[in-house]
Symmetry: C2
Subunit: 205 residues, 2 copies
């Protein structure tokens, strides 16, 4: 039997490069998948059930909540968003790695439910670099950018709760670090009970 | 201030490829150094003080032992061999990584003195591969090889005490895994208190 895949929780400020790094990781490791959230908000044009989200209604979501069926969830305005345990656990059992891009509150909820998850915090090297990236995207107003910078400063106190920190100074180096983390964790003894047993058996023969 | 370097403890049966993997690692990371042991056995022709060993006499070695000055030590026949803490700790404080190729008993002693060390066990995939490698070296008698195989089988029960296991099936892949472990551990939050503080400060400016 193969050992369980890795549940990789990735957090960091907007503009840290999380999406780019996670996409690169998926391209390099075919066994890495994004987790799909469940939400009660209606689908937007083009969004597909089971691809972008699992869409459901509030009654069903709350029934699942009562069954403790989520790794993490949040209510944003009137809508619920959550990560169903079942889909993630099924993928991990198949030996696949699951990527969860999520905020700090979500990450800490996931860790409570699944302590062996791998929490990675991605952060630009300093405030100036983050500000430059947010300006460069041309998507946020000055006010929104100022808000993001302030929020990031407050959030950094949580970095030490993560397993790994990647300082995204040069993108190629950050991707390499993320890749190294996955490769290294895949040979951690604590995660490889079945592999260790298999090796022991291979020396009895 | 830089964070401390890594103390990398490498164990595994003779013929596992430890030396080759460690040499490759040194070639790729200039900040990786081999630890130098202290011994009471006399130098052999060509051996140099401070390069192959630190040579000393029994009285001095035992005085150091009484001061708990070794990360690990063993007495083999009439001679002591040990890893002096001071040299290792000085190198780690300079941010260098120190490699220690050592047996299981030694590794467990090191872990007791320095729990944040990184213990890596390197093992060929099965008994047949190990036997073939030992035969291929043409250095050991049939009897010695049989003894090594039996010892390895007994030692594998200790694998789970290590942080990482590298199954050395293909050398290039094993070297990559070792490299990934070093790169990953270098961005572990628990090892990077100073780096985390520096990032926090870089967001205050």
């Amino acid at each position: 039997m193969a050992d369980s895949g890795l549940l990789i929780v990735v957090s960091g400020p907007s503009g840290a490069g999380k999406g780019t790094i996670c996409d690169a990781l998926r391209a390099r490791f075919p066994q890495v998948h994004y987790s799909i959230s469940m939400t009660t908000r209606p689908p937007r044009p083009g969004e597909k059930e089971g691809v972008n989200y699992y869409f459901t209604d509030t009654a069903h979501f709350e029934a699942l909540l009562a069954q403790d069926a989520f790794l993490e969830y949040a209510k944003v305005y009137d809508h619920y968003y959550g990560t169903p345990k079942q889909y993630v656990y099924d993928a991990l059992a198949r030996g696949e790695h699951v990527l969860l891009e999520i905020d700090i509150q979500g990450a800490m909820q996931v860790r409570k439910h699944y302590p062996q998850c791998l929490c990675v915090y991605i952060v630009p090297p300093n405030r100036q670099v983050l500000a430059a990236r947010l300006h460069g995207r041309h998507t946020d107003s000055e006010e929104v950018i100022a808000g993001r910078l302030q929020k990031t400063q407050a959030e950094l106190a949580w970095m030490k709760e993560y397993d790994y920190v990647i300082v995204n100074d040069r993108l190629a180096a950050a991707i390499e670090q993320m890749e190294a983390i996955i490769r290294a964790e895949a040979c951690r003894c604590a995660r490889n009970g079945n592999t260790l047993s298999r090796i022991c058996a291979a020396y009895q023969e």
